[in-house]
């Protein structure tokens, strides 16, 4: 397993998709901060009045703030990366190269997953570093005190975003493995997360006065949404409590992660590599 992880790490570290994704995550975070800062200082009037409070952009709130960049945009990037990593192994013919080297199929697959999830952790850290940096810049310009959030909140936030990236990355990995093509896999993954799931959940919620809402609450990104929305403070104003608790969301997301990785492992173990 160590050999496989080493090989996967060596392979991924120069992969343009990872470097571009890191830049995208950083760029999106800076953009969100920049636009929010402008809106906070120029709220407008009447119906077009903005609702961003400058208080949400200071360092003590940065963990709550980066959740917006982490989901759904960061999750979409994770799906794309997962689909690329798994699907391109078939289109480049590297799957057969890998599987004729010695480590078994499952060892190869789990090594790939470990290396991929390490990259998701790196993307999470980049998101947090850029978010923290942006909040410090805002605070410095506004002459506000620079106060860090509690370490436990930072740790919880890191864990949350990593889990959201990990499970969405696993969707991409599983689709790439199933379809054996990166382009089709990332298309299907993005359409599902950004459209199909939303439509399905709305439909289920509308049935019989919401009697089947519990089914909707089992969908993957309903739980991701609930988990990221659990990071909230008074600075952001009043909010509606999510129908899914943070603890339940963590359990469901881990279950999806494990299930997707195991399904893909079974496919890799059983299927011929042609």
């Amino acid at each position: 397993m160590i050999a496989t992880i080493k090989a996967e790490w060596r392979k991924n570290r120069f992969r343009p998709a990872f470097l571009v994704s890191s830049g995208l995550i950083a760029g999106i975070t800076v953009l969100i901060y920049g636009l929010s800062w402008y809106q906070a200082l120029h709220p407008g009037t009447g119906e077009r009045r903005g609702v961003v409070s400058i208080l949400t952009l200071y360092p003590d709130q940065f963990v709550n703030n980066v959740m917006g960049a982490g989901f759904p945009l960061g999750a979409a990037i994770a799906i794309v990366l997962g689909a690329l990593i798994a699907g391109s192994e078939y289109s480049w013919g590297t799957m057969k190269t890998t599987l004729t080297q010695g480590p078994g199929r499952l060892t190869t697959w789990f090594g790939r997953v470990v290396a991929f999830e390490a990259w998701m952790a790196i993307l999470t850290v980049i998101l947090f570093l850029v978010g923290a940096g942006s909040s410090v810049v805002v605070a410095a310009f506004q002459g506000h005190a620079i106060v860090s959030p509690a370490m436990i909140d930072i740790a919880k936030g890191l864990g949350t975003i990593w889990l959201v990236f990990a499970v969405n990355g696993a969707i991409g990995l599983a689709l790439g493995t199933l379809i054996r093509s990166s382009a089709a896999a990332l298309g299907v993954g993005l359409i599902y997360v950004l459209a199909v799931e939303v439509l399905l959940v709305r439909f289920i919620d509308s049935l019989n006065n919401g009697a089947y809402q519990w089914i909707g609450n089992l969908f993957v990104n309903q739980n991701a949404t609930a988990l990221t929305q659990s990071f909230h403070s008074a600075a952001f104003g009043p909010s509606v409590a999510p129908s899914i608790g943070a603890e339940q969301a963590v359990v469901v997301l881990f279950a999806y992660f494990a299930g997707l990785v195991i399904i893909a492992a079974a496919l890799i173990r059983q299927r011929d590599v042609t």
Binding site: A3, T4, K6, A7, R10, K11, F14, R15, P16, W92, G93, T94, M95, K96, T97, T98, L99, T100, Q101, G102, P103, G104, T108, D272, V273, T274
Partner: protein, 314 residues
């Protein structure tokens, strides 16, 4: 085509096989029978040519030998292990169909990834790059390589483990004549010593020039397996003379009826080509005009078309 001389420094252990298959069969779904009950044996130390037309089942067979495809029925033992087992793969280097590498990595980085996978020391990467003469271009991205360079990198990847068995599936595919010649030389060099090479090809000249033994596959069935010499049969002499009947009668008297046959107006003699001068002298002395007299040898191409039932030039 000059027949391949026997390897000077190789002891082929006649009774030791490195690849053994029994009734190996692959059927896709309920339809296509890609490989049909193949019994194949490759001996240690030899260069074995796996010959067949496109679509005959060569690549499917090789994929089964390295564990990429599971057989529908039948068994195989490769390097003493079940195909695809980690212990067996540790002794096998394979280039199946086309080299599969990451286009955004350099040739050297690609080999480093493969070396990590195979738990091979990184210093081996430079050794194999040197063997395939790619050292000077190893820093370039794989995606920018020519077809010949890609194939050579594929061979380098297969050599990383210093394998007992090297499986090369159509390694000259897509190469220009110079690239093909270079690849043949490389395979010959690799095949020196006690390493076994299993080379699949549809190029008859390539197999004839490089291989010790040949297996011919057609429509999924292994139609023959033999040494190149046995397949080509005995050497002889081809004579064209007038009157042909008189010439045939005289040669039959000289060499016996079993040594003489007539094909397309030419007389084929199973005899030592060194006797050509004597044959010419006797025929001329008998007043028979000799228009052509030359050593005769069946080419592997003749044998191949005869075995596979394919038509030459079709």
């Amino acid at each position: 085509m000059t027949p391949r001389p026997p390897k000077p420094n190789v002891t082929v252990m006649e009774n030791t096989t490195i690849v053994e298959t029994h009734s190996l069969t692959k059927r896709y779904g309920s339809g296509v029978l890609a490989v049909n009950s193949v019994d194949m044996s490759v001996r240690r130390g030899e260069v074995y040519g796996f010959l067949g037309p496109n679509g005959a089942g060569k690549t499917t067979t090789l994929r089964m030998l390295v564990g990429l495809i599971r057989p529908t029925t039948g068994t195989a033992t490769v390097a003493g292990h079940t195909p695809g087992s980690p212990a067996g793969l540790a002794k096998i280097g394979a280039l199946i169909e086309s080299p599969g590498f990451y286009p955004y990595l350099s040739g050297r980085e690609n080999l480093r990834v493969v070396a990590d996978m195979a738990s091979v020391a990184q210093k081996r990467v430079d050794e194999v790059l040197d063997m395939v003469e790619l050292t000077s271009r190893a820093g370039r991205k794989f995606g920018t390589y020519s077809t010949g360079m890609k194939q050579r990198l594929g061979v380098a990847g297969a050599l990383l483990k210093d394998p007992d068995l090297l499986i090369l599936d159509e390694p000259t595919n897509g190469l220009d004549p110079q690239g093909m010649a270079e690849m043949r030389k490389l395979i010959k060099d690799i095949g020196q010593g006690d390493r076994t090479v299993l080379l699949s090809s549809h190029l008859l000249g390539e197999v004839e020039a490089i291989c010790d033994r040949v297996g011919v596959i057609s429509n999924g069935r292994l139609v023959t397996q033999s040494t190149v010499q046995d397949l080509l049969g005995e050497e002889g002499v081809m004579v064209r003379a007038q009157p042909a009947d008189a010439a045939q009668e005289m040669l039959t008297r000289m060499f016996g009826p079993e040594a003489v046959s007539r094909q397309d107006g030419a007389i084929h003699l199973k005899t030592d080509p060194g006797k050509s001068m004597e044959i010419n002298r006797q025929l001329t002395a008998a007043g028979i005009g000799v228009s052509e007299l030359r050593p005769f040898e069946r080419s592997l191409e003749d044998v191949f078309f005869q075995l596979t039932g394919e038509k030459q030039g079709s």
